[in-house]
Amino acid sequence: MNVNKRQSKLVSLKDAAALVDDGNRIAIGGFGVYQHPMAFVYELIRQKKKDLTVVGIVNGNDVDILAGAGCLRRVETSYVGFEKFGLAPNFRRSVEAGELEIVDYPEILSMDRFRASQENFSFWPAYFLGGNDLLRINPDIKPFDCPLTGKKAWAVPPADPDVVVIHATLGDEYGNVLVPTRRLTPQSLDITMARSCDKVIVTVEKIVSTQKIRRHPHLVEIPSYRTTAVVEVPWGAHPTSVLGVYGGDDDHVRHYLEAAKSPDTFRQYLDEYVYGVERHTDYLNKIGLEALLSLRKMDIAL
C-alpha cells in the first residue's frame, strides 16, 4: 500500500513571486489603500518582472509602485489613486508619457469581470454603458441585443487573470485561508478574486496549525484546493492596512508620495525600500518598531 504525505504549500516570498511570469495578467488583492499584498509586490519588483497587466477593481499603492518600477504594460481597472492622499504620481506620469496603457472599467463591472471568470463565462452582460466614453476607448467591449428581450446590452470581457495574489490574516501550510466574518469590501473582493483563477497565491500575516483552522471552519473562505502557494509575511501589507490587525502607515505613504514626485527621487526610494532589501524583515527594520507598533490594532474577536 502506498501512503503519501499531505503536501505543504508553504513557500518563500521569492519562490511565490517566481510563479509570476513576464507578460502575465495579474490580479492584486486589496482595494484603494487597503490590504494590498505589498511585500509580494516588492518581490515582483526585485525580480524585475516585465510587461505585466494588472487587472483590478480599485487600485492604489500596488499599481503605482509597479508603474514606477517599470514592471507594467497595461492596467485594467476603475480607479488608481491614493484616496485621501490624492492622485497616484507614478501611474499618472507613466500614462501621461504614453508608457503605460490604461483601460478604464466601471467599478461594479470591474468586480463583475471576476465573477464572470469564476463562472467561466465568456462575457458578462452590462446594460448601462450607453453614451459612456468607456465604450469609445475599449474595443474589447462589444454591443449586442439581448436574444430574449431585445434589450440593448454590452458584452464585457471577463477578468481572466493568469495569477491572483491576495494578503490575508491567517492560513495553514496547506493553503486553507481564513477571512474574518466582520469583513468589508476589500476582504470580500479578495475572496471573489481567489475564485476567479487557478493560480492563487496568498500571503498571510501568520501561519497557524491546521488543528486551529479546523476549529474555525466557517471562516475558511479559501480552502486549500483553491490555493497554489501560501507565504507567511507578517506586516505583509505595509504601508496599507489589514483590517483588525494594523492600520495604514500614513507617514510612510506621505514619504512615498514625496519621493514619487520625480523619477530620480523615486529611484532612490526603490533603492532603499525594495532593491536594497534582501528579506522582508529588513524592510520592517527600516520602517522601525515604534512606527509599526503605533499602527497595531487588536480586535476583541474575529
Binding site: P106, I137, R182
Partner: protein
C-alpha cells in the same frame, strides 16, 4: 440666531429634495472642500430629512454603513474601510461585493452624490482625464462608480465644491458619467432606463435640468452672488438669468434642528 451660512443653505435645499422611504448612497470623499460638498452636506441633509418629513429614509455612509449614528463621531472619517467605520453604531452594514444588501442593478438606490473634475452643460461628468484620452494632459483617478451612479441610481446630485470655468465646461474631455445627451429621449436611445443628474450644487448656485432638451439651467442663485460672477465662472452659456430666484433660506426651525440635533458638534458643517 446666527444667519445661515452657505453650507447650511445648501444642506436644507438638498434635504427638501429627498423623499420619505428612499435609499441614498454617499461615498467617502476626501479633501476639505470636496468632502464637505460630497459627503458632509449629503449626510447632514439626509439626517435633517429623517428628523422632519422623511423618517423612513435610509442613508448610507461610504456606501455601506446604513443610518450611522453620526453623533458618535468626533471627526469625519477619512478611511472607507477601517475599524472606525466598522465599529460605528448603525442600522445595517454591508460586507461588500457581491453580497451587498441592496440590488444596485434593480434600481434599489434612489439617489447618490457625485463630483468630477469637469461637468458640462449636458450634465455629463468626467473624472478620467483632462485632454486627449491617449495623450492626456492630466491623468485622473478613473471612472470609479460614476458610470453606475449616473445610470443605475434613481437620480444623482452632482456636488461641486468649486465653481469655475475650468470645471463647468461646454463639453467634458471624457464622459465617465452620462448626463442628458439628446435629452431624456437620447438617454432612452442609449439603452439607459432611468436615472441621471437631478441637481448640481455649487458655492454659487443650484442647477437643475431641462430634461427634454438635455440642458443644465440655473435654478437658483445663492445670496450674495452676482449674475456677472456666475456667468464668468461658467464655461457655457447660461441663457437669461433675470428671473432666476435667490436660493431659499432655511426656516429658523430647520436651522435649529440642523445645529442642535443633526450636527451639534459642528462635525459636518462649518459653524461660522
Amino acid at each position: 440666531m446666527r444667519e445661515a451660512n452657505l453650507y447650511e443653505i445648501i444642506t436644507v435645499a438638498l434635504a427638501h429634495d429627498l423623499k420619505d422611504g428612499e435609499l441614498g448612497f454617499t461615498g467617502l470623499t476626501t479633501g476639505d472642500g470636496a468632502a464637505r460638498f460630497a459627503t458632509s452636506i449629503p449626510l447632514a441633509a439626509a439626517q435633517l430629512a429623517r428628523l422632519t418629513h422623511a423618517p423612513n429614509l435610509t442613508i448610507m455612509l461610504a456606501g455601506w454603513v446604513h443610518n450611522p449614528n453620526l453623533r458618535q463621531l468626533t471627526r469625519l472619517p477619512n478611511s472607507e474601510f477601517d475599524e472606525e467605520l466598522r465599529d460605528l453604531e448603525c442600522e445595517a452594514q454591508s460586507r461588500g461585493f457581491p453580497n451587498h444588501p441592496w440590488a444596485i442593478k434593480r434600481g434599489d438606490i434612489d439617489f447618490g452624490f457625485a463630483s468630477g473634475a469637469q461637468v458640462d452643460k449636458y450634465g455629463n461628468i468626467n473624472s478620467v482625464c483632462i485632454g486627449d484620452y491617449r495623450n492626456p494632459k492630466v491623468r485622473l483617478i478613473g471612472p470609479v462608480l460614476q458610470p453606475e451612479h449616473m445610470t443605475l441610481f434613481g437620480r444623482e446630485y452632482v456636488m461641486m465644491a468649486q465653481h469655475d470655468a475650468r470645471r463647468f465646461v461646454e463639453k467634458v474631455d471624457f464622459i465617465s458619467g452620462v448626463g442628458y445627451p439628446g435629452g431624456q429621449a437620447g438617454r432612452r436611445e442609449l439603452g439607459i432606463e432611468w436615472g441621471g443628474p437631478e441637481l448640481v450644487f455649487t458655492p454659487k448656485c443650484i442647477f437643475d435640468f431641462d430634461k427634454e432638451a438635455g440642458r443644465m439651467r440655473v435654478k437658483s442663485i445663492h445670496p450674495g452672488i452676482g449674475i456677472d460672477d456666475l456667468r464668468a465662472s461658467t464655461g457655457f452659456d447660461l441663457g437669461p438669468l433675470d428671473d432666476v430666484p435667490l436660493t431659499r433660506l432655511p426656516e429658523p426651525e430647520e436651522l435649529e434642528l440642523l445645529r442642535n440635533e443633526v450636527d451639534p458638534y459642528g462635525l459636518l458643517l462649518p459653524t461660522t
